[in-house]
């Protein structure tokens, strides 16, 4: 068996490279009984994909918890999602991270990875975020913000042997 070079396609979307350099994207707690809004952050398009390839997706997002009514007032739990096929496509990966502010800020970097196979031709993936929980914060408040960086990438990795 001969060795071969495996990375055959790569795409990335990087709306922001620095902490705090974008206008913060607010994550607002919905009214009781309503679903929180899922906010798309970045999209990658991968081409020339074959079924035996491994598609590896990686995301890095900087965000912060906001104390909506003073120190120790609330937590914030975010769910980061990867969907295949647009913003309403199939949910293929999700990862949660949470923070708790003592004062008025807590800045956090979340990174996660996901890999799948069985994909053919061209495929689009969307990275999104949703506020899933914020104990101590009331409806209409904004207990978390996306502040950057935002990085999303996809690598197409060939079968190990041909």
């Amino acid at each position: 068996m001969s060795r071969e070079r495996l990375l055959v396609y790569y795409d990335f979307d990087q709306p922001d490279s620095f902490s705090g350099s974008i206008t913060p994207i607010p994550l607002t707690l919905p009214a009781a009984g309503a679903l929180p809004t899922e906010i798309p952050l970045a999209t990658v398009n991968l081409n020339l994909v074959r079924p035996h390839d491994r598609v590896r997706l990686a995301a890095t997002v900087g965000w912060r918890v906001v104390a909506v009514s003073g120190p120790f007032s609330n937590e914030a739990e975010l769910e980061f999602r990867i969907r295949r096929g647009g913003t309403t496509g199939v949910l293929v990966s999700s990862a949660r991270d949470s923070g708790f502010p003592i004062e008025d800020f807590r800045e956090i970097t979340t990174k996660f990875l996901y890999t799948e196979g069985g994909i053919s031709h061209s495929v689009q993936y969307t990275l999104s975020v949703v506020l899933v929980n914020a104990p101590g914060a009331g409806p209409g408040t904004t207990p978390a913000q996306i502040i950057g960086p935002i990085h999303f990438e996809g690598s197409v990795i060939d079968d190990n042997s041909t």
Binding site: E4, R5, L6, L7, V8, Y9, Y10, D11, F12, Q14, S17, F18, S19, G20, N47, L48, A58, T60, G62, R64, G99, F100, P101, I102, E103, F105, R106, E107, I108, T109, K111, G148, P149, H151, E153, D158
Partner: protein
């Protein structure tokens, strides 16, 4: 369009691969009006980069909160040495706990349009702020490993070789 081999160059610097094995770097609260010190953690050089290449940079840093409420750290990637332009930054926060509070911060970044025969990238860390007052000189966080920093040069999609 033919598929091609994309990963054309790789380098890394990994001064520490386990928690507690990095020569500890202590981040202290600076005196009023003074800038905190930025410390170099790792550095490497990539060569023969073409204009359409994507340079993918990845870092993992282990650290612990030492003292004070919620110290915020900023991790930076600079092109060149520690005085080169900042091309990436992200922040993470240590949480107050009675037990040791250990953290792992990991992130990715991509650079494009920086054709060069030789490019150095440097990973650094700097203290940003703390939630409540502590005396200047107080050690609020310690970088204690692991420290991993790597760079991949990824060619433009879909040219050249048929395989």
């Amino acid at each position: 369009m033919k598929r091609q081999r994309e990963l054309v160059n790789f380098n890394f610097d990994e001064p520490s691969s386990q928690t507690g094995t990095f020569p500890p770097i202590s981040l202290v609260v600076p005196p009023p009006g003074a800038q905190p010190t930025e410390f170099e953690l790792a550095s490497f050089i990539l060569r023969e980069i073409k204009p359409d290449d994507r340079i993918r940079l990845t870092a993992t840093v282990g650290w612990r909160r030492s003292d004070g409420d919620q110290p915020v750290l900023e991790f930076r990637i600079r092109r060149g040495g520690i005085v080169g332009p900042i091309v990436f930054s992200t922040r993470d926060t240590g949480f107050v706990s009675s037990a040791p509070s250990d953290n792992t911060t990991s992130f990715d970044h991509v650079e494009t349009g920086v054709a060069h025969s030789r490019l150095q990238y440097t990973l650094t860390v700097v203290f940003v702020r703390i939630a409540s007052f502590v005396d200047p000189g107080t050690i609020v966080a310690v970088i204690d490993g692991p420290v991993h920093f790597d760079g991949e040069v990824i060619d433009d999609n879909g040219r050249k070789e048929n395989f």
